[in-house]
């Protein structure tokens, strides 16, 4: 059983890029600041902002669950390792 306080990588998928002159990275950092105790940029691994909207961050299970209910979030799921075929 995993420790719910243990951080693991989650993908937070937010769909298409927002319209207009918006800093997507700032949105991602802002969302993390609301739920992470500590420095948000320390847990952010990737900010997807060129072709679609989302980010990858090291989160606890509780933090991931909080993000699931946020407006603008399509899905939050733990990162998996895929295999070569």
């Amino acid at each position: 059983a995993s420790d719910t306080n243990e951080r693991q990588v989650y993908i937070v998928y937010m769909g298409d890029l927002p319209k207009g002159d918006v800093s997507v990275s700032n949105i991602h950092i802002g969302m993390l600041e609301e739920i992470v105790s500590g420095v948000a940029s320390d847990v952010l691994l990737y900010s997807y902002r060129r072709s679609f909207n989302g980010f990858a961050a090291k989160l606890t299970e509780d933090e991931a669950n909080k993000l699931k209910g946020k407006e603008g979030v399509v899905s939050v799921f733990p990162s998996q390792k895929k295999q070569l075929h």
Binding site: D16, Y46, S51, F52, S79, H85
Partner: protein, 623 residues
């Protein structure tokens, strides 16, 4: 690829597009070995103006006019000590897939003389953009998404991705499906491997309806490794043996006669040649016969010169080994045991692998993942099949031929849906080079409707193994009609699949709405195949609405030709489609009724104008 593209009709006289060198293939894989001759940029002009990517700076990697872009995505815990922290390929897989899709022509390529010939990609004049997402410990979702994010924005034309999970995930909890969706929105087709978990039913992965899912099949070449006994008998085995014993006969010993007594191993176990089971003193310098396929570690560590294994498994693909090695079927294994038991000083030799004709090709290889589609049961997946068995292609010189091997090579022979996927990628790029404005769905349709039909004679899973059939890239440039689809069609599909309006609006980035009028049923997604499932023993009827776009002759009449075996009723309305100009669309309705027992029934619909045969499989099955 020293045979695969020729097997599909590619030759020196084939037509090529003058814009092939503007096509950019995005390879999401383990990176590439840039010094490979397959990526030589001699004769290439400047980088296409549409390219917006970069060559990520690193000490041991530079791009050229063939490899025009390269990036890598590394997070903690992904890499091992052997990995290069750069787009350079330490593993071999990415070099192999990239050269298969887009490598240049290299003559006299082989694996130590085996499969010698000219290797090539489907679009040898195309450009390559490398996105290294896979490392020693796998390919993380966050890296895959980062690569998609970049590749789409960089301006690639096709994305090739030969990785996946062991189990399928919901479309928007799957990094590959998410990336492929946004690629589709920008007009980029994603070509995916179907997985190597076959022949288990429902094992296919990467099944999003906006991507191309590729199974793996054989070509008309097979490799044979002969074993000769001291009595002159010769048996045909199934491995890739790169070692040449030059016909010299060596002492031959039964594993059961060489138990490692110091470890307390009995003859009943040493006959299987498990690691630690063999007496090194007795087997050193000899060829060992083992009664069960347990891989090579046991004989290698005991110092055997070579090994012959009896194998009950599938023989439709081959592995290489770090010592002379062949596997024989059970009947031949019995003959060997009889020889060993009745001969005072038994001897044998293992010949270097030779090639033979595979008269049953193409058929889908046993390991290729099978449908039914586990996420959307009424969309047929895999979409089609392509060569993926015993493929010779470029290799990383940082990697050995096999594990436990010290030999490095510039070309290697491996199998997988990883190998079939880049063949389909190359074929898709080839089509795109003639039709640069075609959508991802149109390119997929062209590949599917022109596929060479296959039969269930060699694959009992039928369309669940091979989809529409075997790719036929030359014909795919002239499909006659295409089943096109764009973002709005997939949005309707997602509505029909029960995704919330809020999520669909986020995904699409617009104010799309779901309603009874706009919700698309699965059966109405404008897909070039037809699938319907029900519970065993039930009869079902489904109505499919489709629209085709004329991309053939301006004035043409297509007649519906239906193939419906007993138990399947297929009606098409109207049964004739008339076109007056290129780009004209015509709609029709297919009603399929099926009396299902416990398995599947399949037929087909062909739109035929006398020149083009636009083929679609129709599959009804008990789910």
């Amino acid at each position: 690829t020293s045979r695969t593209w020729e097997f599909m009709g590619f030759n020196k006289k084939m037509k090529t597009s003058i814009i092939e060198s503007d096509i950019i293939i995005g390879m999401l894989d383990t990176g590439v070995w840039p010094e490979s001759e397959s990526f030589n940029d001699t004769g290439f002009g400047p980088i296409p103006k549409k390219w917006k990517g970069t060559c990520q700076k690193s000490a041991n990697f530079t791009c050229n006019n063939k490899i025009i872009g390269a990036r890598y995505y590394l997070t903690d815990g992904d890499n091992g000590p052997e990995d290069f922290i750069s787009p350079r390929d330490a593993e071999g897989h990415g070099t192999h897939t990239t050269s298969t899709a887009a490598g240049g022509l290299v003559s006299q390529a082989s694996l130590f003389g085996i499969a010698k010939g000219t290797v090539r990609g489907g679009v040898p004049s195309s450009r390559i953009a490398v996105y290294k997402i896979c490392w020693s410990y796998g390919c993380s979702d966050e890296g895959i998404l980062a690569a998609f994010d970049d590749a789409i924005a960089d301006g690639v034309d096709i994305i090739s991705l030969s990785v996946g999970s062991f189990i399928p995930f919901d479309y928007f909890e799957d990094s590959i499906a998410i990336g492929a969706f946004h690629a589709m929105k920008k007009g980029i087709l994603t070509s995916n491997s179907a997985g190597n978990s076959g022949p288990t039913p429902g094992s296919v992965v990467n099944v999003s309806p906006w991507s191309l899912t590729v199974a793996a099949s054989t070509i008309d070449r097979k490799f044979v490794t002969k074993v000769k006994l001291g009595n002159g008998q010769i048996y045909e085995g199934a491995t890739i043996n790169t070692f040449d014993l030059k016909g010299k006969m060596y002492p031959f010993i039964y594993g059961g006669d060489a138990p490692n007594l110091t470890l307390g191993v009995a003859s009943e176990f040493s006959r299987y040649c498990f690691p630690g089971a063999l007496n090194a003193t007795l087997v050193k310098g000899k060829i060992v016969f083992c009664e069960y396929f347990t891989d090579y570690e046991g004989v290698l560590e005991a110092g055997a010169l070579g090994a012959v294994f009896q194998d009950t498994g599938n023989k439709d693909f081959q592995f290489s080994y770090p010592l002379p090695f062949s596997t024989l079927n059970v009947n031949d294994g019995r003959m060997i045991i009889n020889y060993l038991n009745t001969t005072e000083n038994p001897t044998a030799t293992i010949f270097k692998t030779s090639q033979d004709n595979n008269q049953f090709a193409p058929f889908v290889v046993s390991f290729s993942s099978r449908g039914p589609n586990p996420i959307t049961t009424d969309i047929l997946k895999p979409d089609l099949t392509a060569p993926g068995v015993d493929i010779l292609a470029a290799w990383s010189e940082a990697s050995t031929v096999t594990e436990d091997d010290t030999r490095r090579t510039r070309y290697n022979i491996i199998s997988g849906t990883s190998m079939s996927c880049p063949h389909a990628t190359g074929a898709a790029a080839y089509v795109k080079s003639f039709h640069p404005t075609w959508s991802p769905a149109a390119i997929r349709s062209a590949l599917m409707t022109t596929a060479i039909p296959m039969t269930s004679n060699n694959n009992i899973e039928g369309e669940h193994a091979y989809g529409a059939g075997h790719i036929n890239p030359l014909q795919a440039t002239d499909p006659g009609l295409v089943y096109d689809a764009g973002e709005i069609d997939y949005v309707k599909f997602l509505c029909g699949q029960g995704y919330t309006i809020a999520n669909i609006q986020l995904i699409s980035g617009n104010s799309s709405s779901c309603s009874e009028e706009t919700d698309g049923t699965v059966w109405d997604l404008n897909y070039p195949s037809f699938a319907l499932s029900s519970t065993p023993g039930k009869s079902i009827t489904r109505v499919f609405h489709r629209t085709v776009t004329n991309v053939g002759s301006a004035v043409s009449n297509y007649r519906a030709v239906v193939n419906a075996p007993p138990g399947l009723i297929i009606q098409v309305q109207p049964s004739v489609l008339s076109f007056e100009y290129v780009g004209q669309q015509q709609s029709f309705v297919v009603t399929v009724g099926a009396e299902l027992g416990n398995s599947m029934i399949s037929g087909s619909l062909i739109w035929d104008d006398g020149v083009h045969q636009v083929k679609s499989p129709i599959v009804a099955y008990a789910s």
